[in-house]
Symmetry: C2
């Protein structure tokens, strides 16, 4: 072993230290006042705004390196920061700063016949580990949501966005300083070594309470398979739109078009369209023609093929595929029940929409489908924490334990019971 090797701490040692620091940060944040957390985020937003030149310069460095590596255009687009995107980051951090403080909020309270008063109040979860790929804005969004909810955060960004993330983290730390909070509340893993991710998935000796992966399916699947701590995530968004026999035609066309084509790469984008047989004659063609006009490829069952000459045949594989592209699979169903059965069989339990003017159909759809988000007469692309009014989201969860749907500050909390008595003993 050379002297240099001997003197470098191992990744495991570095990460264990980060974990211990995070736990100390979490203890400080858990008892921070609402005003301290608000101030930390307000100052951080101001710093991001003020230091945008430095952030853009750091991002230019990341972009140049990524371009030199021949990375895909979609990846480069996610990595790129612009003045408008920095405006968006500043705005998101400011919005989160101004949300009601979730910690200490009373969720429920009641009196017992023996005079005990029981309150259930929100508490932070502890330490959140965020593992993300190229989007530098995750640094600010996830960091702000964690601080607001009283949780310390360990951020591990992709190597391609390292300089951009670091520049944004500096601004977040300015906020913590200004609020008198320890910098251990928000740590960026200082190495791009992949072993760091492995250490985080093992939980850093109990010093990570939840892991949130933000990135492609390969990352999410690895985290879900290997993590020994709870994970808030969704692997896929295999999203359905169902056109009921009572559907209003104009809504069916505009909502389906938006659900599929507004942005095809987001998890709330529709992938499969189900159409009730009674409206095939009236609704199917206008919807599909609108999709085709926007450049969408159609893969249909036999009835769709008969109506739409340019459609390709849908295979079993199509019903299971999240295209993340301008492609949609289309199927005619005999009934609302058949639509529900198809969705329950193929869905990733993320988001589904029904277009209908019949309240009974909507109720049945809402009751019987076990997905995180169900929409009536609205685009599936509203599946987003910002659109829910959460100020942002650290991710979207399709699991049913603890968090589900867009994960905002409330879902980053646990609770405890506070019971007040005047000397009660139990008989």
């Amino acid at each position: 072993m050379s002297l240099a090797e001997a003197s470098l701490p191992s990744i495991a040692t570095v990460m264990a230290e980060i974990g211990r620091n995070a736990r100390l940060g979490a203890k400080a944040l858990a008892i921070a006042t609402p005003e301290q957390k608000r101030r930390a985020l307000t100052v951080a937003a101001g710093a991001i705004n003020a230091h945008r030149k430095a952030i853009l310069a750091a991002n230019a460095q990341d972009m140049a390196a990524a371009e030199a590596k021949g990375i895909s255009k979609a990846f480069l687009d996610r990595l790129l920061l612009t003045d408008a995107r920095i405006d968006g980051i500043v705005e998101a951090v400011r919005t989160i700063a101004e949300l009601p403080d979730p910690v200490g909020a009373t969720i429920d309270e009641w009196d017992r016949p023996n005079g005990l008063h029981i309150e259930r109040v929100r508490t932070p979860l502890g330490v959140i580990g965020v593992i993300f790929e190229s989007r530098p804005n995750v640094t600010a969004d996830a960091g702000a949501l964690c601080i607001k909810s009283g949780n310390a955060v360990i951020l591990r960004g992709g190597s391609d966005s390292f300089h951009s993330s670091k520049a944004i983290v500096e601004c977040m730390l300015d906020g913590l300083h200004a609020a008198g909070l320890p910098v251990e509340c928000l740590q960026l893993v200082p190495t791009t070594d992949r072993a760091a991710v492995g250490e985080m998935l093992k939980g850093l000796d109990g010093n990570i309470d939840v892991i949130v992966p933000r990135g492609g399916k390969t990352l999410v699947a690895r985290v879900q398979n290997e993590a020994r701590v709870p994970v808030f995530a969704h692997l896929e968004g295999l999203v359905h739109v169902y056109i009921d026999k009572s559907a209003d035609l104009a809504k069916a066309v505009s909502v389906t078009l938006n659900a599929k084509m507004r942005r095809t790469g987001v998890c709330g984008a529709a992938e499969t369209l189900l159409v009730h047989k009674d409206v095939v004659a009236t609704h199917l063609k206008p919807i599909i023609e609108a999709l085709i006009a926007k450049g969408c490829e159609i893969r249909g069952d036999a009835q769709v093929m008969a109506l739409i000459p340019t459609a390709k045949p849908a295979t079993e594989e199509d019903w299971r595929t999240e295209y993340e592209d301008a492609i949609i699979s289309v199927k005619v169903v005999d009934s609302l029940e058949a639509a529900i059965a198809h969705i329950e069989h193929y869905s990733s339990h993320h988001t589904e929409a029904i277009i209908s003017e019949d309240p009974a159909s909507v109720e049945k759809f809402f009751n019987e489908i076990d997905s995180a988000i169900l929409l009536h007469n609205a685009s599936t692309q509203f599946a987003d924490g910002g659109e829910f009014g959460f100020g942002g989201e650290i991710g979207i969860a399709t699991g049913k334990m603890h968090a589900r749907g867009p994960v905002g500050v409330e879902q980053l909390t646990s609770f405890k019971y506070r019971i007040r008595g005047n000397g009660q003993t139990r008989p």
Copy 2:
């Protein structure tokens, strides 16, 4: 391989089948009406009441076998059913039957500026696996809580209570029949082979959503270490009572006595007493004399030893020990801060109490201690779902994910979002 061996299905096959059946049961229960679930439990309670002779006979069979094996007295007491205990079971199932139905209840709702109306409503979790030891009443309590919350349940009782549990399960199935619900909603594992527990811990091919262990530390530790699905549990109840310098003497004596001595084997029983130095002269002796009069052994620090001649010295090990017996460790602390630091260091984060007349001390204690249940001027033995008004509890959780404290019907639910629009598309 003999013909008999060849024709017996393996434990893995039996358990996989139970898992698939449970998932079907869960689907039916998820859309059962509140009245169906209420009726299932009301009829079950009536059947337990009506068939008490058969249940007591089955229990006598279990008791005889256990006595013949020379099992401990404490174990036999947990296994024993009496008329009074059956009354208790009937009452618990009736109380749970009459609780408000949690499924479909709106937890939160709000409007967005674009006109979308967002509702967050409770949904069942799916399938709950309950692994318990000797107490036959768990069959009814856990079964009733799961059915009320729309979850299918797989019950795996200890071999010693098998006949008692089976007799109670028959009554629960009467209830499901009467309500038109499938018997797959509640299944008792038909074998006492330990391999069945191993299969449950692996999650039965995704057909168990949560595991609840009910029993001693060995069982809970095994479940927490081996389970590949979420677990609601507590390993220990290392419960503290802190006597503040402002404590009322009468409350300090009666609450401490009840917290320690009402029942010493329950998880809410106090194990360590912390006393502020300013009230050592006035409060320490009367509290300890009351404990000694009830037969409690005292293990104290140097100051306690000086005051109480019969006290034994407390070692570092004592601060870490859940005695589950008539023993208490006692320490004098210099300040509220020192009490909080001791609790945060040694507590199992289950339940802690402060005896105090100073609201500022209570607030600090409530804010800074990260335990599931915090009490002011009330006995720690109130740490119980029934005492919380939950009708019962499937267990008490000390983890912070999803459930915390006594786990009743609400904590056995997840939620989904229902969003109503009139054609909204996302810009």
